[in-house]
Each structure stands twice: as C-alpha cells, then as structure tokens.
C-alpha cells in the first residue's frame, strides 16, 4: 500500500463558548490515498465541515485544534510553520466552497482570480498566467473562456461560478482538493454537471478529493470511500459500496432508510427518532444511544472505540452485527 496523501489521526476541534467548551470534532481519524475520493457525510452539527476546515487552518476564530495530527503529503500540518503551511495550502491542497458567490472576490474579474495562483505561486509571467487561466477555464467546461474571463462573479450563473471556483482550485496543480458541499446551492441539472466534472478531473488528473456533503446520494455518485460523522465523531468508515449496502452503524442505517430513495416506490418513510445531542453535553457512552433502536445496557457506560472490521471497515457500534442483519433482511438501497 502506498503512503496516504492525507492522514488525520485523533483530530479534535473545540469552540470556546461562554457556556463552556463545545467539542465540534472529537477524535476524528481518516486517510485518503493518492487519487482517491473520500466522502464525509453527516447532518448539520455533525462536525464534518469543521473537520475539513481544520485540515487547512480555516477554522473560525473561536475554534481551535486541540489534539490530533493532520499529515498532508508527509508534513504534519499541526506543528509545521505558518510559511510551510501556507505553501501547502497554495500548492498541495486547495478548497472548493459551498457558496461561490461569497468565496470569490466580487470586484475582480474571474480571469484574474484564476490567474492569481499561477502568477504568485508558480512564478509565471502575466501573459503565461493569463493563458493558463484560459486553459483552466476550458478544462472546467466554461464556454467562450476569453469573453467570460473578463466577467465579474455576479455576471455569471451559479453553475459557471462554481466552475470558476474549480478552475481556481486546480490552478496550482494540487494533489488534494477539499470540497465543502460544492453542489448544495445548485440546481439538480447543474449539480449533475459539476459532479460529473469533478469525477472526470479526478480520473484524468489523478487528484484526490475529500468531499463533505449531507447528501448520501451525492457521496454514492462521487466517492469510493466514506466516513460517516455523528455528533463530532466518525462513527463508521469503509468503501461506499460496503457501507451503503450493509451499514454497520445504526446511525448510518437510519440515515439511509430516511432518505427518500428515487428508485423505490411511494411508501412511508422511516426516520430517526429524537434530535442530535448538544455537543457541549454529549450523552455518555455511545453518542447515538438515546436514538438507537438496538441499544443495550453496555452502550450507555464507557465511550465506544472505533472497532476495526474485516474489509478495511470500522464502526463505533458494539452491536453492528444486528445492524448488518437488519440491512440484509430489508435492503437499504435498490439493487443496482
């Protein structure tokens, strides 16, 4: 096995609030191999976005990384100097945000925004950088790049703006692109275009993706491996195929069962009872136990570790076998 491009070990992100410390991410661990796409899925407040932002030091001011290591391309980001980190952010890792309108500079023509990185980081001349920008715009499927490069972000459609952001993310030839809900703000036909574009780029350029989304179907279409987060913890990891067909954590199972599946016919949808816990006061033991249908006495006491399973899977559930049985009895996704 090759060295992973990204290795996150026991990552902890805490917010200092007036009412105490809120642990948004609590001991998250995951890896991304070169050329691989990892999905991080969870609902709002699960810590998925904070985990992603912590990787590149883009946490809000009240939050900080208080434990764990993040290795990108062999460099431990948590102890590296600010200069080294900035270099990594420019060259090795880049990021695509959910809302391109707020992530792009509103008063700068998009062509110049795309050319900025090649100009500053790669040391290209102005002319070379401009040509590189046009080439990138063509690569991400922006028609008539010469004319569009002179546009300001507000003059473009949502889909075009997201393509501009992808072009910027690609502009310094990164090895890893972090995507934070990149299609959530887009319409379904435009989402489809952007997801296909990301898939093609990943395959053709061999770039790795970390894809944060609340949408299980988007993860199913774009990623090979998945980490499911709940209340700040990674509760299950494995290949998308294995995890979606036979989930081994009751939260994953509940989530999959509550998505209205396009391929199955009308019927009553199942749901997860209750609400996610307050992260300042998480439940003792398994954090999912108050909402879990399989809960036993020993789920409530000590914290549940991530248990390694066969087939490079892991779960934070003591009774994962019951969960798998349930999924075998009544399949969660229509057979493809």
């Amino acid at each position: 096995m090759t060295e992973p491009l990204l290795r996150v070990e026991g990552l902890r992100v805490e917010f200092n609030l007036a009412r105490g410390v809120l642990r948004a991410v609590d001991g998250a661990s995951f890896e991304v191999q070169p050329g691989e796409a990892l999905g991080i899925v969870g609902e709002s407040g699960s810590g998925k976005t904070m985990a992603l932002r912590a990787l590149v030091g883009l946490l809000p001011p009240a939050a900080s990384v208080t434990a764990g290591t993040v290795e990108i391309d062999g460099v431990d980001v948590t102890v590296a100097s600010e200069v080294r980190r900035r270099e990594l952010r420019g060259r090795t890792v880049s990021m695509i945000f959910q809302e391109p309108m707020t992530a792009l500079n509103p008063v700068m023509r998009v062509g110049r925004q795309i050319a900025e990185m090649p100009l500053v980081r790669l040391g290209l001349s102005r002319r070379e950088a401009r040509d590189r920008a046009l080439e990138l715009m063509r690569l991400v499927g922006i028609p008539d790049p010469k004319r569009r490069s002179l546009a300001y972000p507000h003059e473009l459609s949502g889909g075009m703006r997201q393509r501009v952001m992808i072009a910027i993310a690609l502009s310094a030839d990164p090895k890893l692109i972090l995507c934070d809900e990149p299609t959530t703000a887009l319409d379904v036909t435009i989402q489809d275009q952007i997801l296909k574009l990301l898939g093609t780029l990943q395959r053709d350029l061999g770039v790795s993706l970390v894809f944060v989304s609340h949408d299980l179907a988007v993860i199913a279409q774009t990623c090979t491996r998945v980490a499911v987060m709940y209340a700040g913890q990674v509760v299950e990891t494995g290949t998308v195929d294995a995890v979606f067909r036979e989930p081994r954590h009751p939260y994953t199972l509940g989530l999959l069962r509550s998505v209205p599946d396009f391929d199955s016919v009308r019927g009553r949808l199942s749901s997860i009872p209750g609400s996610p816990p307050d992260l300042a006061l998480p439940p003792a033991g398994c954090r999912f136990h108050p909402r879990c249908p399989f809960v036993q006495d020993d789920c409530v006491g000590a914290p549940i570790p991530l248990i390694e399973l066969a087939g490079e899977r892991a779960t934070r559930c003591l009774y994962h076998e019951r969960c798998a049985e349930d999924a075998r009895r009544e399949p969660v996704v229509a057979r493809g």
């Binding site: 489809d192 299980l216 774009t222 509550s258 009553r268």
Partner: protein
C-alpha cells in the same frame, strides 16, 4: 377522477424589474420578468400534486399566486368553479393556506405558539373565545407536538419541530388546499422523513388537497399522486407519479430524472444529463423554451413553434416529439439509464 378543486387557466405573473421607471421615462417599455408565463393547471380534490422544477422556473410564484400573495397580470384562477379574484374575502383566504420553506423566518419570533395560533383564530372569528385554547391544544397535538409547545417561542424548537408549528398554523383555519413550498428542503435528512410522513397523514385524516412544491424528485415521488414539471414559467409535463417517473415524455423531464444522484453506488454516466444553464425568464427563447438545451431539438421547428401541452388522457407534455412513436431518438451519451 375526483372533482377539480382549483384550476388555473392561462395564468401569467410578471414582475417589472428595477429601472422600469427610468426606461419608461426614456419612452421604452420596462424589462419584465415572466415568472409564470401561461400556466394551465388543475388540482383535483384530495390529491397531492407535486410541482417540480429548478430555481427560477416560477414554481414558487405559481404557489404564491394560488394562495393570493402574488397577483396575476393575466389569466384566471377558479376554486370549485367560482372565480378567485384578486381581492379575496376572508372565507376564500381561509380555504387555501401555505407552509413556507423556512420555518425560521415564517414564524414570528416574538410570539409563542399559542399567541400565533390564537391570533389567527380570533382574526377569522372561527370559534367562540372560550373555545380557542382547546383548539390550540388540538392543533399542536395534530402535528405531533406536546401541549408544552404552546408556551414556547419558535427559537426553542429544532428545525423539524418548527416546521410542525408552521404546519399547525396553516391548519388552524381548516383549509381545504394546502400549498407547501419546499417544506423539507431546509431540514436535515433524518427529520425530512418525519415531516413528509406528517403531511401525508394529515392529508388522509383531514381530507386535505396538497400542492407540494419541491426541487427534490425523490421527495415528490414518495408523497405525490400526480406530478407537474415546470420549466421557465410553463408547465411542460403532467402525469400520474409512477407514469411520469417510468415513462417521461418531455426531454426536460427525462434530463431532470437522469440528473438526480442515486443512492446506488457507482457513477451513472460520464456526461451531464442536461447541458447548459437555464435561460433568463426576462427573455425566454423563441419557440419551445427548452430548445437551446434540448438533445432532440430539430430546426427550424423547435425554435419557431411553441409546442402545446397535449397528450392522451392524464399524461400531457409540451414537446413536438412527445408522442411520436417510436419515441424520439436522443443522443445516447446524454441520456443513459441508471442501472
């Protein structure tokens, strides 16, 4: 088929854009955004009609016009055969109620649930004063909240519970038609299901008719009896739900269905289901409005002639090739089957 509850005929809702005054002063007509541009639609008593389309297609404007928030510039709405005029009386307003997408902004944050509900009941003089409190309790119970909810403010609820409060408010006036505009799209996946199930239960229990406006095709498939697809201010296809999902006749509907990401792992196809961006509703394309993005468009027919919404029985589509047999040839890489 059941009795038609609400009917829209040739409905147009236009917005004058900013700068209209300046343009007019220079003797030019103001720019007009045609949000709803000639919609014919009937909703039958007791059914759930799903209205789908992408942002900017006019689906929310259509919903708001039916409720009476927006005024049509042309066309008519009829309710049980009676014309629904712009100035609706209290009884007419009561019959059609709305649930909005965002329960955070559609509820008054300074009012408790009891205040919100009882204000409505008092204003419409539906009940004697001493019966109002009992009715409030009944309403929160109906949407699955405990009586303690009555004393709470909207901020004290989670998203899903807050949407239940919004539904209780819509139901307070015993409407016959409920227009639900993206009622679950602001909610987390695991609570979406509970709200959708609730809507379905209420429909059965109270004999409601529901117009469900949504962009999520899977949501629509799960709760609708019939589906109408909207594109750029027009209805382009209407059919019973299963029929629409298994035998779509309009190329836009087919693209929309193909574009939905599936839960079955693995990539569906390399190329996008529908190319390009939707055109601006300020200057819609000539002829068929979908022709610039259509994989089966034929010149000069599609760019000059506007296809009518037509078809056999309950399934209608606005495409020149919708009912051609064999079905129109399409570019194979554009529309590949999911499985």
């Amino acid at each position: 088929m059941a009795e038609t509850l609400l009917e829209a005929a040739g409905l147009h809702v236009h917005y004058e854009l900013r700068g209209g005054f300046a343009r007019r002063a220079r003797g030019r007509a103001p720019e007009v955004l045609r949000a709803v541009d000639g919609v014919d639609l009937a909703i039958a008593q007791g059914e759930t009609l799903g209205l789908v389309g992408e942002s900017g297609c006019g689906k929310s404007t259509l919903g708001r016009t039916i409720v009476g928030i927006e005024r049509p510039v042309a066309g008519a709405l009829r309710y049980r055969g009676e014309p629904l005029d712009v100035g609706r009386d209290r009884a007419q307003r009561r019959r059609i109620q709305m649930v909005f997408q965002d329960p955070y902004s559609s509820l008054n944050p300074r009012m408790t649930v009891r205040q919100t509900l009882s204000e409505l009941l008092r204003a419409h003089r539906l009940l004697p004063k001493n019966a109002i409190d009992a009715r409030c309790r009944e309403l929160v119970d109906l949407v699955g909240l405990g009586p303690r909810a009555l004393a709470a403010h909207p901020r004290q609820f989670y998203g899903g519970q807050r949407q239940r409060v919004a539904i209780a408010r819509a139901l307070a006036l015993e409407p016959e038609l409920l227009v639900a505009d993206e009622p679950v799209s602001a909610l987390d996946v695991s609570v979406q299901a509970t709200v959708l199930n609730l809507l379905d239960e209420l429909r059965a229990k109270l004999g409601l008719t529901v117009l469900l406006i949504a962009h999520n095709m899977a949501v629509v498939r799960h709760v609708s009896d019939r589906v109408a697809v909207m594109y750029l201010g027009r209805i382009v296809e209407t059919a019973p739900t299963d029929e629409l999902f298994t035998n779509p006749r309009h190329p836009y509907t087919r693209g929309l269905l193909t574009a939905v990401p599936r839960l079955v792992p693995g990539r569906v196809s390399e190329s996008a289901a529908v190319a390009g961006d939707p055109p601006s509703p300020v200057s819609p394309p000539s002829g068929c409005r979908f022709h610039p993005r259509c994989p089966i468009a034929q010149e000069p027919l599609c760019s000059t002639e506007d296809p009518a919404l037509a078809g056999p029985g309950h399934h209608v589509a606005a495409c020149h090739f919708a009912w051609r047999d064999p079905p129109p040839a399409h570019t194979p890489e554009v529309l590949q089957e999911a499985t």
